[in-house]
């Protein structure tokens, strides 16, 4: 066979193989998505939002306890993690800049972002659950906060660095002190990017299950006291899905559906924000 023909044949074969693997990969992923939507839509009804957990077989059982618990744990973790992350990121971008220390902090944060979350759970177990003597909402909050800080810190750092230095110089030239320049000019310039980072950070910790298993643990009833064990959507989903009861499994799918839509929604909004900024 002439070499050019041979190359073109090989080319065709590889292109087909690669398209095929893309097809396989994508169809697996859409399989999961469709399973999620079909089971989720089937399982969703009004009871889910109005009733707390109940023993298997009860008509009047829902996910109210888990939804509220999830909101509290993720909400409080966000309230603590976001300001800390933003301030830490501010240090890297505005003060640490290209210093060796700043790079070490960046690198360690990057590693933390990929580190196993169950290890964070074990750590929080040791420092909170053991001294307190029992599982608690706070322990879950702390675990999620530890996961969240490096994410917010790194995106804030990146986004602040994108603010043109001429903007800072212009503000300095007007005689503004540095903290004023940062809080009134730099933050404003990086607003959209930092907001996107926050949304993606929330999306990331909202799906965490492993670090909650033995920190906030679970509760089949509504509890709003962070000093006590607290239900979350993820842990409830895990418990219900691995139970042998059909109605609990169905509640598990409902929880999976609600959680996934929430997380996908945050990701889509984050993307739209980035696109809007790039468009301008």
């Amino acid at each position: 066979m002439n070499p050019i023909k041979k190359r073109m044949l090989i080319n065709r074969i590889i292109l087909i193989l690669s398209s095929l693997s893309a097809l396989i990969g994508i169809s697996f992923l859409f399989w999961i998505l469709s399973v999620l939507i079909m089971n989720g839509v089937d399982a969703i009804n009004w009871n889910i939002f109005t009733f707390e957990g109940a023993p298997p077989g009860y008509e009047e059982s829902g996910l109210k306890h888990a939804l509220i618990g999830q909101l509290i744990i993720v909400g409080v973790a966000t309230l603590i993690g976001v300001p800390l992350g933003i301030l830490g990121g501010t240090y890297l971008s505005e003060y640490g800049q290209k210093s060796k220390m700043a790079y070490i902090i960046r690198d360690i944060s990057d590693i933390m972002m990929s580190a196993p979350s169950i290890v964070i759970g074990s750590f929080v177990y040791a420092i909170i659950v053991i001294p307190m003597g029992h599982f608690s909402g706070w322990a879950g909050v702390i675990a999620l906060t530890i996961i969240m800080i490096p994410i917010i810190l790194r995106t804030t750092d990146d986004m602040l660095q994108l603010v043109p230095s001429t903007l800072r110089e212009a503000a300095f030239a007007l005689g503004a002190p540095k903290y004023k320049v940062i809080t009134s000019v730099v933050y404003r310039g990086a607003k959209v990017g930092v907001l996107t980072g926050i949304l993606l950070g929330i999306a990331r910790v909202a799906g965490e299950t492993a670090p909650l298993l033995f920190t906030s643990f679970n509760d089949n009833f509504l509890n709003t006291d962070l000093n006590e064990p607290m239900a979350s959507l993820t842990v409830t989903m895990y418990n219900y899905a691995t139970s042998p009861y059909d109605d609990w499994q169905s509640l598990g799918w409902a929880a999976a559906f609600i959680l996934s839509m929430f997380i996908l929604g945050l990701n889509i909004v984050g993307r739209l924000l980035i696109m809007k900024r790039k468009g301008r």
Binding site: N2, P3, I4, K6, R7, M8
Partner: protein
């Protein structure tokens, strides 16, 4: 109507009523271009940026086909056939019509493998033939002396000017009929530029050359024919000395005297 000089010599390429439209565009970027390209000579394309000179150059090896939705019409004749034909074998066409880019494009491999790349694509595996042809191409590109002792080294270690000559060696190793130069010195210092210009002039012994340049002096120094393009059209094609000394078109005159551009 454009003023086109009569070329009595043999022609390498003949462009006839050529139009080119980018994907999604309403208006063609190149309009009604008819021009002969003389064989074994250098044709320069000049004109203000956005005039379509690079777009025209990239039509000769159908580089535009890499991106979907671009459309050609008219014809470009090469070796007795219309290369715009849907049945044209692009792989073969591109080995016959080579190209040098604005920036040096050394591949992430050794100096030797860079030059041997096109040869290997053609199925040449014989070690001694590869050695001979790589050496010859490097000598023709006037870079053999500098690299002969480090052929196994990564090509990205060379200087910009050396890399560009390596790219020329890579292009001539496959012995093309035509070479397209797309502003080959725009990323180089004056000394390297001089070297490349000298090399281009030497190469016309063997290949027909079309060179796009934003630099009128460069066109005047190296080319035999010069085409002036403006807003997607070829305004004038003439013998280089004549076009620069006694342009026939008012637009050409305004451009070369610096009234716009």
């Amino acid at each position: 109507m454009a003023t086109i000089v009569d070329i009595t010599d043999e022609k390498a390429l003949e462009v006839k009523n050529f139009e080119f439209t980018y994907n999604g565009a309403q208006e063609p970027s190149l309009k009604n271009i008819t021009m002969p390209i003389a064989k074994r000579s250098i044709t320069a394309l000049i004109g203000p940026s956005g005039c379509g000179k690079t777009t025209l150059l990239r039509s000769f090896n159908r580089m535009h086909d890499l991106y979907a939705g671009n459309r050609y019409s008219g014809s470009i004749e090469f070796e007795g056939r219309n290369i715009l034909d849907a049945k044209e074998d692009l792989i073969k066409l591109r080995t016959n019509i080579g190209m040098i880019f604005q920036k040096p494009t050394a591949f992430p491999m050794s100096i030797f493998d860079n030059v041997a790349y096109g040869l290997r694509l053609q199925g040449i595996k014989n070690r001694s033939e590869l050695n001979d042809r790589v050496e010859k191409a490097l000598q023709d590109a006037a870079i053999w002396k500098e690299v002969s002792s480090r052929l196994k080294n990564d090509a990205n270690g060379l200087s910009g000017g050396q890399q560009q000559r390596l790219c020329i060696a890579r292009a001539i190793a496959v012995e093309p009929e035509v070479l397209l130069f797309d502003e080959p010195t725009s990323a180089l210092d004056p000394i390297s530029t001089q070297g490349i210009e000298k090399l281009v002039i030497e190469l016309k012994e063997r290949v027909s050359i079309i060179i796009v340049t934003h630099n009128m002096q460069q066109a005047a120094r190296v080319s035999d024919y010069t085409g002036f393009m403006y807003m997607g059209e070829l305004i004038e094609l003439g013998v280089t000395e004549e076009l620069f000394v006694t342009p026939k078109e008012r637009l050409t005159e305004e451009y070369i005297t610096g009234k716009f551009g």
